[in-house]
């Protein structure tokens, strides 16, 4: 019989025999997991493989603790919606395989503390890598959130890959008016490692989901230590580091609050919308054909020309400093706005507010019909523009929406 993956085999080569489990291989070598747990790679050419034992299909250990049984009627009802970000993993040390866990049972098994906070209902919305997220998925997700709240969920937790979490948080901020907390959470270090930030982030997210902060927010580590998580407003948060646990930071505003760990005590740092203040509403139309264009020194205006000429419905410019692009770009901005394409100016400084009234270039940009993005993050301006164009096709209405604060994305006074 031919040996297949995960069968026990003996591999002999040049008079030396290795015994172990045949593993999937990415190259043309044989990968063997030895009894001592190590994987080794063996070049094919002269090796002979003898099947020792077929893989054991029956011995999958399954802990059967039903989430139903664990329910405590006194605790609030929380829905966990999964989009591909992992908050719990399981490792099969026989094969080295890591699997993400999505059922309430499995999540509670991995993070038993969650049981003390709420009862959970889990729904997998989709399973994608965060970088493959698309605006159409926001719509699907917003509808799921709406349904869950309508069906009585007292808080929502959305597990999300961290790369594009801030875009999704922004989209939901505009698409949902929520009477309950809607919390996005993820992990910067994979859930299969004992040091992962997944459990602490998930526990803090559950605390926020059961709190009276009725906003779309992101809950992630506030420092490199396992000391506290920050609660970031969905429209003010940005991933500011590729790998650190505290990559997520509130920009141009203070976080809403922080949750101490492991005490789970919430400290508020700024004002917020309280539970029940808003009525549940869904605004799920989106115009995805919008672009975010970064201006860099010497960048030709061709990219702007391309977008204007290719049917784009709205454009966000990420300009320099206070919100500038080369004067060569200004006539094209005029062309765009004349054609009914809103153009929003933001700054690549990320921190601070756009002000196009200080220098001539800025004043000319405004004259050409562009709108100042105020203290909005460029990505937030983009998502907001998609949403505003979904709500209305009229450039004046869209421009007014872009100037107004809808979901905490624009503040009246810039924070220190």
């Amino acid at each position: 019989m031919q040996a297949e993956e995960y069968d026990k085999v003996r591999v002999e080569i040049k008079g030396i025999a290795y015994e172990g489990t045949l593993m999937p291989s990415q190259t043309d070598s044989i990968v063997l997991k030895l009894k001592n747990g190590y994987n080794i790679g063996i070049k094919h050419e002269f090796a002979t493989i003898t099947l020792l034992e077929k893989k054991d299909e029956t011995n999958k250990l399954k802990d059967t603790v039903s989430a139903e049984k664990r329910k405590n009627e006194k605790l609030p009802r929380i829905s966990i919606l999964s989009t591909g970000g992992t908050i719990a993993s399981k490792i099969d040390y026989r094969t080295g395989a890591v699997t993400s866990q999505f059922s309430a049972e499995d999540i509670l098994l991995a993070i038993p503390e969650l049981e003390e906070i709420a009862n959970y209902n889990c729904r997998m919305i989709y399973s994608i890598l965060s970088e493959n997220m698309r605006p159409s998925y926001w719509v699907e997700l917003a509808r799921a959130v709406y349904e869950e709240i309508k069906n009585g969920a007292e808080g929502i937790i959305i597990t999300h890959g961290t790369d594009t979490m801030m875009y999704t948080a922004t989209a939901l901020s505009f698409m949902i008016e929520t009477p309950v907390p809607v919390v996005l959470v993820g992990s910067q270090r994979s859930a299969d490692r004992p040091s992962s930030d997944n459990a602490m982030n998930a526990i803090c997210a559950a605390v926020v989901a059961t709190s009276d902060i009725a906003e779309v927010c992101v809950v992630m580590h506030g420092g490199t230590s396992d000391e506290f998580c920050h609660i970031h407003r969905g429209t003010k948060v940005r991933k500011m580091h590729t790998s650190r646990r505290d990559a997520f930071q509130s920009i141009n505003s203070k976080p809403i609050g922080r949750i101490e760990y492991p005490s789970r005590e919430i400290k508020m740092l700024s004002s917020y919308v309280k539970r029940g203040e808003k009525k549940l509403a869904l605004h799920d139309r989106i115009e995805p054909k919008c672009a975010l264009i970064k201006y860099a020194t010497g960048a030709s205006n061709e990219s702007l020309l391309f977008h204007v000429g290719s049917g784009y419905k709205g454009i966000v410019l990420e300009g320099t400093g206070l919100g500038h692009v080369s004067t060569e770009w200004i006539p094209l901005i005029k062309t765009a706005t004349d054609a009914g394409i809103p153009v929003i100016l933001t700054s690549q400084c990320i921190n601070g507010r756009v002000c196009d009234r200080v220098y001539d270039t800025g004043r000319d940009i405004l004259k050409a019909g562009a709108i100042e993005g105020e203290d909005m993050l460029p990505e937030v301006a983009l998502v907001k523009l998609m949403w505003a164009l979904g709500e209305s096709k009229d450039i004046e209405k869209v421009n007014n929406t872009m100037r107004a604060n809808i979901a905490g994305e624009i503040t009246r006074s810039t924070c220190l």
């Binding site: 030396i16 190590y38 790679g41 011995n59 490792i91 040390y93 270090r189 490692r193 040091s195 490199t224």
Partner: protein, 629 residues
């Protein structure tokens, strides 16, 4: 105690962990530099939690660790980075460390894998910020020749060193990140070692081979050995953390003795129908008026709990290693619950506990003659945990010798650490791509001369005695030594070795910046010395000056001391002395050389070499004597 180890069926294997002296760490660009914790510029803390596993077998070690919820505090430095902090994915595997592993594998006649896979081995004691140690299997199927035939070398792994534990505060542990990530080779022998002396021989030979590469770190803590030991009627026990090679023999002896003693105790206990009751009695009342200080202290908010071990009388107090009893093993296990220790009736009355209290204790737990009561005073939770652990250990005493991991103690004994780890909890490190090791790379690895071969060569080529040859062959200065001998073939090897190994070391200890002395200085100095221009006694003084003013060179140092240069000054002094002692010379003839040597050296000691004085005196006196004839 001496045993016939063959008859006992002694089997032992060694596991050696040796740090490599690479420029960078295994998975990041940080230097492999140990720091003083006072230099730490950043501190953070984490918790670790075990990841769920689908493994069918419950891992005992993992379970025990899960019970502890500790805060791990890490000290970072300006020589550590986000990789050590577990805040950034690892970089690619350090190729210098791979080359070094290949070299060692070849010296141990091993078969090197075609592809090296980095794995994650779960370790949640906090010593790795990630919660796992990265490790890869480099080679298998090797052997080492020994006086008892070949000893198999089963595995050679390349792995990252763990963080150094700085302080254990009970509910938190402080680790220093400087050591985390230093490359380490782990070499495991087959259980082919047959006696304590054999264990020592194998350990020494492995150490010699490792040092021969010139690529390993030296000094305390850079090499650690674990020993697996079992006897036929015993069990596999792993003794961890032996830092002193000279202790290996004693450790094997004492573990064999321990297993023999435990096997004996098991037989006797069974013949007495001994049993273990797991009923825990609250005997706090018995001690409510105790004068025992230890118990008084624990009773503040605490309790005294006790169990009865029927048929155990005399056995808890029975010695199984010098100074360690079965009761000590109970106590080791109990301490894992956080208690300070236990008392058993084999050692009572004592510690302020009176005869009456012992009687009352025995009565309270229902202990008859021949029974042994074990008690502990602490908080309810700890006391209960402690006695439960004692019950487990006592049960084991009836049926088997427990397989366990033990910690080497400085006297060669060992104490309980944790159960033997189960099957390795390992899975691939997906952040590090596998490394292909081609036949060409293996063939191109230059093998170093082994230290034992080097010693032979030094004895043969430089006429050094065995001791000095060994000293310099083992030293990191051996290349410097060879370069000097090559440049100055007439140099005295003995003086060169003494200078490199003793004089420089002593200067350094005095605070002289001996690091400023370079190879060029030494070659010039030994050239002048071989020409008789620098006396032996002056070498230290010359080096001291060079160290302080390295740029002005050897000549200037000699001038400063008034030695070397031309021998003109010396000749005129000798001429004067010869002139003034002509009567003496006439009387003694050539025999006057010795006494006159003394006269000249009185003035010139440290400035000229005795050899040179003697040569000049002989020359001048014989000339004088010739003219007299």
């Amino acid at each position: 105690m001496s045993h016939d180890y063959r008859a006992l069926g002694l089997k032992a294997g060694l596991e050696i962990h040796q740090q490599l002296d690479t420029k960078e760490k295994l998975f990041c660009g940080c230097p492999t530099l140990l720091r003083d914790t006072k230099e730490s510029n950043f501190e953070f803390f984490r918790y670790l939690r075990p990841t769920q596993s689908e493994m069918g077998v419950v891992d005992r070690a993992a379970l025990e660790e899960v019970k502890l919820t500790k805060r791990f505090i890490y000290k970072a430095y300006d020589t550590t980075c986000l990789v050590e902090n577990d805040e950034e994915p690892p970089r690619e595997l350090n190729q210098e460390a791979v080359d070094c592993s290949i070299m060692i594998a070849r010296l141990l006649n091993m078969n090197i894998v075609d592809e090296l896979y980095t794995m994650r081995k779960i370790v949640i004691d906090g010593s790795n910020t990630s919660g796992f140690q990265r490790t890869g299997l480099v080679a298998t199927h090797g052997h080492l020749e020994s006086s008892h035939g070949n000893v198999g070398i089963d595995v050679l792994c390349l792995e990252e060193e763990a963080a150094q534990k700085v302080e254990d505060r009970g509910d938190s542990v402080v680790y220093s990140l400087d050591r985390l990530g230093i490359p380490l080779v782990e070499i495991g022998t087959a259980p082919d070692i047959v006696s304590p002396e054999h264990a020592r021989e194998v350990a020494e030979k492995l150490g010699m081979i490792l040092r021969s590469t010139g690529k390993v770190k030296r000094g305390l803590g850079t090499i650690r050995q674990d020993i697996n030991i079992s006897i036929a009627e015993g069990a596999r026990v792993e003794i961890k953390g032996v830092q002193d090679l000279s202790l290996i023999e004693t450790i094997v002896e004492r573990e064999a003795a321990r297993q023999v003693a435990l096997a004996g105790i098991k037989k006797e206990l069974n013949s007495r129908n001994a049993a273990v009751s797991n009923k825990i009695h609250d005997v706090t009342k018995v001690f409510s008026n105790t004068s025992s200080k230890v118990i008084q202290k624990s009773l503040k908010g605490g309790v005294v709990y006790a169990i009865n071990l029927p048929g155990f009388a005399g056995f808890a107090g029975k010695e199984i290693q010098p100074g360690r009893r079965l009761g000590t093993e109970f106590s080791d296990r109990a301490k894992k619950s956080g208690v300070g220790g236990i008392f058993h009736t084999d050692e009572l009355p004592n510690y302020g506990i009176t005869d009456d209290e012992v009687d009352a204790l025995r009565k309270a737990v229902g202990a008859k003659d021949g029974d042994c009561a074990v008690m502990v005073a602490d908080t309810k939770e700890r006391a209960k945990g402690a006695l439960e652990a004692v019950v487990i250990r006592a049960r084991e005493a009836l049926v088997c010798i427990p397989e366990e991991t033990r910690r080497a103690l400085p006297d060669g004994n060992s104490a309980y650490m944790r159960p033997l780890p189960g099957a390795a909890r390992m899975y691939p490190e997906t952040d590090v791509p596998p490394v292909e090791i081609t036949g060409e790379r293996i063939r191109n690895t230059k093998l170093p001369e082994l230290i034992e071969q080097r010693i032979e060569r030094y004895v043969r080529d430089f006429k050094l005695n065995g001791e000095m040859a060994g000293q310099i062959a083992r030293s990191a200065n051996f290349i410097l030594f060879e370069n000097i001998m090559h440049s100055v073939p007439r140099a005295s090897a003995t003086i060169v070795v003494r200078t490199l190994e003793t004089t420089l070391y002593e200067l350094n200890k005095e605070g002289v910046p001996s690091g400023n002395i370079n190879e060029g200085h030494l070659i010039q100095l030994f050239r002048l010395h071989s020409e008789g221009k620098v006396p032996n006694e002056a070498i230290g003084e010359v080096l001291k000056i060079i160290a302080c003013k390295p740029e002005s060179g050897v000549d200037s140092a000699l001038r400063e001391l008034g030695i070397g240069g031309s021998t003109g000054g010396l000749e005129s002094i000798i001429d004067k002395i010869v002139e003034s002692r002509m009567d003496f010379i006439r009387e003694k003839g050539m025999n006057s050389v010795g006494p006159l040597m003394g006269v000249v050296m009185k003035d010139m000691r440290g400035k000229v070499s005795g050899q040179e004085v003697s040569r000049l005196l002989k020359e001048k006196i014989s000339k004088k004597l010739d003219t007299i004839k």
